[in-house]
């Protein structure tokens, strides 16, 4: 492969690639995940089961996965980009047709013993497909209307499918990641300004199209105290948990809101609220800072890439992780409505953990191959 690339030295052997892996980033990821596991142990009243032990195995498996993906050849991922996107689309359509309903939403596909959340596949597929598209597109065409319309369609189709599930949180994520990557690829600012204005005009129409439960989330977010035992319960209890943690928190296993079950979903979506209750402002701000470092490292990695494909893949991972963190923390602190978004690496959940790890693995692979330049003739061969 080395002889096809024109610039720089690509790590050719497996050993070289292993050396090129960004180990400090991996260590940081492991640290955040271990904080999460400790929190799950506290959530279970000081017991490793039923959550912490499983999550620990997922972490081990996930870290191995990151390393495995990082040392696979980058061309494999370029080649798999469109197929992954297509597979994600097929699964999303399937889930609409034959998905398992849970809590009023069809989000899961049951494949025998395994249950799969197709939107997780699409999270990876969308990033890869956009990176692949801009790898192929000559830079001078990036802002031409036709070539803007194509990635727009690539984004809107999964957003629309996810909205029918209905899953507002994931739809928002897809849209945000997609548009951010288009921006990074160099699409003119005018499109984004125009889009923002259009959205402002269309928002009343969107409001009318929302499901009742979605509207209720927005209205209860705007005034949670109007219905403290109904839909506002989550926000109210979560804010009480966070706020009563105070400066230094109530200590590991000491969170009363969470241990007395006033805090709902304390091991999944509201894990951060429990963490903030037990570790206080000092702990919560430190955890946020760890995410900040993680995001900063990913941005630095993206900026260091010569390959556009690598840059977009790393940026995609970075944006999706940071959007998850921001939305989740904003949700548990009552800044945005409850949208059901987990905190990456901390919230309990196998699918979410594996998805994050695959994203990080791809980003790591892109990092290892950051100097790779793919010629157009190579691309044609790949499709």
């Amino acid at each position: 492969m080395g002889q096809h690339s024109s610039g720089g030295q690509l790590p050719a052997t497996i050993a070289e690639r292993l050396v090129a892996v960004n180990w400090p980033l991996l260590a940081l990821v492991a640290l955040i995940a271990i904080v999460g596991i400790a929190q799950l142990q506290s959530a279970a009243g000081g017991s490793m089961s039923p959550w912490a032990d499983k999550q620990a195995w997922r972490l081990v498996f996930g870290l191995a996965l990151v390393i495995l993906l990082a040392i696979l050849p980058i061309r494999l991922w370029i080649g798999l980009a469109y197929p992954a996107y297509a597979a994600g689309l097929v699964l999303l359509v399937l889930v609409v047709v034959a998905g398992n309903e849970a809590l009023g939403a069809r989000r899961w596909l049951k494949l025998g013993e395994l249950s799969l959340q197709p939107s997780e596949v699409m999270k990876i597929g969308l990033v890869l497909a956009l990176a692949r598209y801009y790898l192929w597109l000559p830079p001078e065409r990036v802002s031409q209307p036709l070539w803007v319309a194509i990635p727009l369609v690539l984004i809107v189709i999964p957003v629309a499918l996810v909205l029918t599930q209905p899953d507002l949180g994931t739809a928002t994520l897809f849209a945000a990641v997609g548009f951010a990557l288009m921006f990074l690829a160099g699409v003119s600012m005018l499109y984004f300004l125009g889009g923002a204005m259009g959205l402002a005009i269309a928002s009343p129409l969107i409001w009318m199209g929302l499901h009742d439960y979605q509207r209720r989330r927005v209205t209860t977010f705007l005034s949670p105290d109007a219905d403290p035992l109904g839909a506002g319960y989550h926000i109210t209890q979560s804010k009480i948990a966070v706020g009563s943690g105070g400066w230094s928190g109530l200590g590991h296993l000491g969170g009363l809101q969470s241990h007395l079950d006033f805090l709902p979903e304390k091991h999944t979506d509201f894990a951060f609220a429990m963490f903030a209750e037990e570790w206080g402002f000092v702990g919560a701000a430190s955890l946020l800072a760890l995410y900040g470092v993680l995001i900063a490292m990913l941005i630095a990695m993206a900026l260091a890439c010569r390959s556009g494909f690598s840059r977009i893949v790393i940026a995609g991972t970075c944006i999706s992780i940071s959007i998850y963190v921001v939305i989740n923390v904003a949700m548990v602190t009552g800044l945005v409505p409850v949208v059901g978004v987990p905190l990456p690496l901390v919230s309990y959940g196998g699918t979410a953990m594996i998805t994050v790890m695959i994203s990080l693995g791809l980003a790591m692979c892109a990092w290892v191959n950051r100097r790779a330049v793919i010629r157009p003739d190579e691309l044609r061969a790949l499709i």
Binding site: A180, L184, Q237, K239, I240, A241, V242, G243, S244, G245, G246, W247, L256, Q257, L260, D261, F262, A276, G280, F281, A284, A285, L288, Y291, G292, I295, A296, I299, A315, C318, I319, S322, V325, V326, V329, A330, T333, G334, L335
Partner: protein, 586 residues
């Protein structure tokens, strides 16, 4: 640029965390505390009610009972079935308990069996691991020992009415009992004591996680009443010869209530009997309203006993001179209306003493007319009418001391002189209860503004001595002379109240209160009430007694002998016959 956005977003979240966790910490900590703690009030044991010799009239009996806390029981049906092997518990009862548990918060215990034997309780505690949520606990029941002789005075307790928001939270406790009538209600604040507090930490489902003892319950204070159970029994025994009657005896010097009786009385079993008010027998009994304490709730026209008020008012206002004779032809004319004297032939000319002794209506018609209603009403209030007393008895009725303001408020019409004339002989609008009549005669006898009391004051809250009435002594003396004459001189209406000589003299006033204006008195319920108020000994008044016997006819014939008998009994009890009266007074 994206990096800037990320930094901004994370900075915003950090600021939000700071706001929630540092700035607003107190607020959320308070909310968290309120979230998880429930305070449970534990009722205090009620204070006992004793008679003046220390006999227990109302006390507490503790027994053991079994309760189950549904939240701890798991499957309640299974637990109850297991329990049924240890205590008698039928299928129906089990179903009822399950039903009750469903309708209340799962933390509140449900009573499974009352008054179980100690051995059964021990067996349940031994097997407690197989009986989750089942507890044995001591439970206090209010018990009464005095019977009908004191039931009206002591009263009874019951579950509180639905408590209002600001009330003591202990009132929501299912075991708490509050006074409903009598001293139990009147002395409620003393008897109740202070509830204990248990703070419980609960989880989001309301299950108890931890308990903290925040303060033990403090048993209520015992109260010693001024009455004596044996005296009450004797008085009640005599009273029960009458169909409906009431009697109040006061100590003239202190205002202590010596005896109180309302006939018919009731037993506590009458209150809880399941067929109350349904059977024929209980209907006829209930027609005489045994649950009403007539001494404080029965309102009667005072009739001629009110002439004491009129006499004093006339003297004090100067409307009638002490020796001024007023004529009686058997009738009194006013503005075209005729007011008859009870003696149709008339009393001729009488001064105040003779008019009181013979209860001449015409004298008091004229005296009242001259005095005026305002002055009459003021004197009535001075002698204790138209109000209730803070004596430890609840639910007193204050009666009516009529005056122009009252009439305007009540009927919207102005006062007419004919109504003054009627009020002068205790008819018309005037309504009084027997306690007030007793206070009136005690005040007239002692010249002190005594206040009746049912409780023997502890030294620390002893009341000051009663103040002298703000009237001239010679006017009071003149009225008393009339009362002495009414009983002890020939021609007096109260002659049948005359005591044996050795007892000293009894003074008093009869009253015959018309129930129906022109009484042809064919039906019992339309016959006149018989009243008598009196005190003895005249030389140094000790006891004042007021009695009313409903629909019994003239005061001199029925109520006067009743008062004499009770007075006689009180003196006999103080000193066995044979010893002179003077030697036993301190």
């Amino acid at each position: 640029m994206l990096g800037l956005g990320q930094t901004g977003a994370l900075g915003l979240l950090g600021a939000r965390l700071y706001h929630l966790q540092v700035t607003e910490r107190e607020h959320y900590a308070r909310l968290a505390e309120a979230n998880r703690t429930r305070t449970l009030a534990i009722p205090a044991l009620r204070g006992r009610i004793l008679d003046r010799t220390g006999r227990v009239l109302a006390g507490n009996e503790t027994s053991i009972r079994v309760v189950v806390v549904p939240a701890l029981a798991g499957r309640l049906q299974d637990v109850l079935r297991a329990l049924a092997r240890l205590v008698p518990l039928g299928e129906d009862e089990q179903a009822a308990i399950v039903d009750r548990a469903r309708r209340q918060p799962p933390n509140l215990p449900v009573v499974v069996a009352d008054e179980i034997a100690f051995e059964d309780a021990a067996r349940i505690n031994l097997l407690s691991s197989d009986l989750p949520g089942v507890l044995t606990e001591h439970f206090a029941r209010r018990v009464y020992h005095g019977g009908a002789a004191v039931n009206h005075i002591v009263g009874y307790v019951g579950a509180p009415e639905r408590p209002a928001l600001g009330d003591d939270p202990v009132l929501r406790h299912p075991d708490v009992r509050v006074g409903k009538t009598g001293a139990e209600l009147g002395l409620e604040t003393t008897l109740r004591g202070h509830a204990g507090r248990i703070r419980r930490e609960v989880d989001a489902r309301g299950r108890i996680v931890r308990s903290f003892d925040d303060g033990r319950a403090i048993t209520g204070t015992d109260v010693t009443l001024t009455i004596d159970l044996e005296v009450q029994k004797r008085v009640m025994q005599r009273m029960s010869q009458e169909r409906r009657a009431a009697l109040v005896a006061l100590d003239c010097r202190e205002g202590e209530i010596v005896a109180m009786a309302s006939t018919p009385g009731y037993e506590h079993s009458d209150l809880s009997s399941p067929g109350r008010g349904t059977t024929e027998k209980s209907n006829s009994r209930l027609a005489d309203e045994p649950f009403i304490d007539r001494t404080i709730r029965g309102l009667y026209p005072p009739g001629s006993t009110y002439k004491i008020v009129t006499a004093l008012a006339a003297l004090e206002s100067g409307a009638v001179a002490p020796d001024e004779p007023l004529p009686c032809s058997g009738a009194f004319e006013l503005a075209g209306h005729t007011f008859n004297c009870w003696k149709r032939s008339g009393h001729g000319s009488s001064n105040l003493v003779r008019a009181l002794a013979q209860s001449c209506d015409c004298y008091f018609y004229e005296a009242a007319r001259r005095t005026g209603i305002e002055r009459l009403a003021a004197t009535a209030r001075l002698l204790g009418f138209g109000r209730t007393y803070d004596c430890g008895l609840a639910l007193q009725r204050s009666g009516i001391v009529p005056d122009p303001d009252w009439k305007r408020g009540r009927y919207g019409r102005s006062w007419v002189t004919g109504e003054t004339v009627l009020a002068g002989i205790g008819q018309g609008f005037v309504l009084t209860n027997p306690l007030q009549l007793a206070v009136m005669i005690a005040r007239a006898a002692s010249g002190l503004a005594i206040e009746p009391t049912l409780v023997i004051a502890r030294p620390e809250d002893a009341r000051g001595d009663a103040l002298p009435l703000p009237v001239e002594r010679r006017h009071l003396d003149l009225v008393r002379r009339g009362l002495v004459a009414a009983v002890n001189e020939d021609g007096g209406t109260g002659a049948s109240a005359r005591l044996d000589q050795e007892m000293g003299e009894l003074a008093g006033k009869t009253g015959t209160a018309q129930v129906k204006r022109f009484s042809a008195a064919t039906r019992w319920t339309e016959r006149d009430h018989s009243l008598f108020v009196g005190y003895a000994p005249v030389a140094a008044p000790r006891y004042a007694i007021a009695a009313i016997v409903e629909h019994a006819g003239s005061g001199g014939a029925v109520a006067a002998p009743l008062v004499r008998e009770v007075m006689q009994f009180l003196f006999d009890r103080d000193a066995p016959p044979g010893k002179p009266v003077g030697s036993r007074r301190s």
